[in-house]
């Protein structure tokens, strides 16, 4: 009898773990494609300022990304290229391509609560984290994601709420190593793009006292998955060519 119970418990944990991994895998599949085109609107609010940006982004896999700023008009035409862990920027006003040194890449990206590292590394949830189911309420599954041994991410854990109806994110809370909340990402307005379900509104709010009142909102205005992107986008020439 005991043996049966034990086996059952063992099997169910295995099942749970399996479930968690599967969920994450499906989530990532949703979020990424072989290539992705997206048009994104960003609203950044700090204690003192508020501004809005519109950008277009072309990405192939995790290592290649080309981004262009459409608005505000001041920044229109500025392009970025991420290639093989390096980053370049083109500014039409001064007609110059500038290589961004790693030290600057790792700091706050344009005043948002993202770091360049977020943009560049985009660590894989599947590869870098071990997932465990904490709770299941209807179709919403709460997962606890703990970084795998020796993975270079700064988070101690991420508690992620996922809607298993379409395998989309609902809410992520990022914790530091001491279990303190550092930031929260909330997702809403799921839309279907091809075979992908994407939450089109993402709100980032930091918990740190000094950053109280900050809020970054990201809206995906348009997205295309696996439609093929010309490889010409992922070259230094692209920076100038596609700036117009």
């Amino acid at each position: 009898m005991k043996k049966l119970l034990l086996t059952l418990i063992f099997l169910s944990t295995l099942l749970f773990a399996q479930t968690a991994q599967t969920i994450i895998k499906k989530l990532e599949k949703n979020l990424r494609g072989t290539d992705v085109y997206s048009k994104i609107e960003m609203q950044i609010k700090t204690k003192r300022h508020s501004r809005s940006m519109l950008i277009e982004s072309w990405g192939k896999g995790k290592k290649k990304n080309f981004t262009k700023i459409l608005s505000p008009s001041r920044d229109r035409g500025i392009t970025f290229l991420n290639l093989d862990k390096q980053m370049w920027q083109y500014i039409p006003k001064i007609e110059r391509i500038v290589k961004i040194p790693p030290s600057m890449m790792l700091q706050s990206w344009m005043g948002t609560d993202f770091t360049n590292d977020d943009m560049v590394k985009q660590s894989s949830l599947v590869d870098d984290y071990k997932a465990k189911v904490l709770e299941k309420r209807g179709s919403i599954v709460t997962l606890e994601l703990i970084p795998r041994r020796d993975v270079a991410v700064v988070w101690g854990k991420i508690v992620s709420k996922i809607d298993t109806k379409y395998y989309t994110q609902v809410e992520d809370i990022f914790y530091d190593d001491d279990g303190k909340k550092v930031r929260k990402m909330s997702y809403s307005k799921v839309k279907k793009f091809g075979s992908h379900f994407v939450t089109t509104i993402m709100v980032i709010v930091p918990f740190e006292k000094s950053k109280q009142g900050n809020k970054t909102t990201i809206k995906i205005v348009d997205a295309k998955f696996d439609q093929g992107i010309e490889s010409s986008y992922f070259s230094k020439q692209a920076l100038k060519r596609y700036s117009r």
């Binding site: 390096q86 790693p102 700064v154 101690g156």
Partner: protein, 409 residues
């Protein structure tokens, strides 16, 4: 012969203590001044030596070897290859007492809350322990650079709000120029009082740093050497240059000219205060001897009149001065010795000023060094001062006219 000297000595001794209080005062003066001076000398020397020692132990050693252009460009491109072979070659030079190879990469250290500039330093545990007793730098935690363990400099830990057990991510460019990151767990906190280390260092194993930087086994960015302090540094450096003609080789004097200057300044400073004290000792003894002779003019006159050779009296006076001087020396040596021993073991606690001191690379407790030269130099100086001090009194004695003295008052 010896009887005569014994008599003179006895007379000298008795005369010195004729005015007990006076004699005691002089001896005390010499003794106390000497002990204070020894204390200060020991403290200042201790402070300078400490600073230099910490820098050498924690970083450059007496001599450091780099690949050409590395120091200028600070790039991984310029690194030393086949380090073990070089170390083998260096073992030919017997004045080299320890060798440590290092792989250093500058980058960014981050936590979920903060980022700051840092330097990843790959070290070999055994080499470092022999090189500079690295273990003594550890103020918290245990030394382990296995796996992903790292040791962090005290100031960096403070800036990033880290403690033993914290985890950090270090990111930088490797030799290919790619952005690379690793996760490290802090196993210990290190304080060397060398700001170049304490402010930014993250120590990991040599292998880990090589792996991170994209270097091969046997590559390094710096080879640091400890040289036997009794050896001639310049000569040893020459030998190394001849042995390794295609490397940049620097002695610590070239790497830290300010430290050398400080050492020189301390010498000058100690010399000056030494001189001042001796000068005043001289004046003190001279005053006492002068007065004591003036008091005994009549006595001396009588002795001369009854046939006592002048030589004997002069000798007596000299011995009196020496007794005072040496008496003072003995007291000074004992008191000074005690003061130095206390300062050496317990040190002077300046922790109220620790922020300012750390800025300049000094620990908040200063320890004194004790050198036998303190005592020997002072002994010679006091003897000289004592002898010099009686010149004037003896002159007075020479001019003595026995008859005048016995008659008049």
């Amino acid at each position: 012969m010896s009887n005569r000297y014994r008599l003179i000595f006895k007379l000298a001794w008795l005369n010195v203590w004729r005015r007990k209080a006076r004699g005691v005062l002089v001896v005390l003066m010499i003794g106390v001044s000497m002990s204070v001076m020894l204390g200060i000398q020991g403290l200042y020397d201790g402070m300078t030596n400490n600073m230099i020692d910490n820098t050498l132990r924690s970083d450059s050693g007496e001599v450091s070897i780099y690949a050409p252009s590395h120091r200028l460009h600070q790039s991984l491109k310029y690194h030393i290859k086949e380090t073990p072979t070089i170390i083998q070659k260096l073992s030919q030079i017997d004045t080299i007492t320890a060798i440590a190879q290092r792989v250093k990469v500058t980058g960014l250290v981050s936590t979920a809350h903060k980022s700051s500039m840092a330097k990843l330093i790959g070290i070999d545990k055994i080499e470092e322990q022999k090189f500079g007793e690295f273990e003594k730098f550890i103020i918290d935690g245990t030394w382990s650079t296995q796996k992903n363990y790292a040791l962090i400099g005290k100031k960096l830990a403070k800036t990033m709000k880290l403690s033993v057990g914290s985890r950090v991510v270090f990111s930088s460019q490797n030799i290919e120029g790619d952005l690379t990151s690793i996760s490290l767990r802090i196993k210990a906190i290190v304080q060397t009082t060398n700001p170049a280390i304490d402010d930014i260092a993250l120590f990991v194993s040599l292998a880990k740093a090589q792996e991170f930087a994209g270097l091969h086994l046997g590559d390094s960015t710096q080879i640091a050497l400890r040289i036997d302090p009794k050896a001639n540094l310049a000569q040893t450096k020459e030998k190394i240059v001849t042995l390794l003609p295609y490397k940049d080789i620097y002695s610590w004097l070239e790497l830290y000219p300010a430290l050398e200057q400080m050492q020189e300044m301390m010498k000058v400073f100690n010399g000056i205060s030494f001189f001042i004290v001796m000068l005043v000792v001289l004046i003190g003894i001279m005053g006492v001897m002068l007065v004591s002779i003036l008091e005994r003019l009549r006595e001396f006159g009588i002795l001369l009149a009854i046939g006592q050779p002048y030589k004997n009296m002069r000798l007596q006076v000299i011995i009196e001065a020496l007794i005072l001087g040496l008496g003072g020396y003995i007291i000074g040596a004992i008191l000074g010795g005690i003061v130095l021993l206390i300062m050496q073991s317990y040190g002077l606690d300046l922790s109220a000023f620790s922020d300012g001191l750390e800025e300049f690379g000094m620990a908040s407790t200063l320890y004194a060094t004790i050198k036998s030269s303190y005592f020997s130099t002072t002994l010679i100086a006091i003897i000289i001062a004592s002898l010099l001090s009686v010149i004037l009194p003896i002159r007075r004695l020479e001019k003595l006219n026995p008859i005048e003295v016995i008659e008049g008052d």
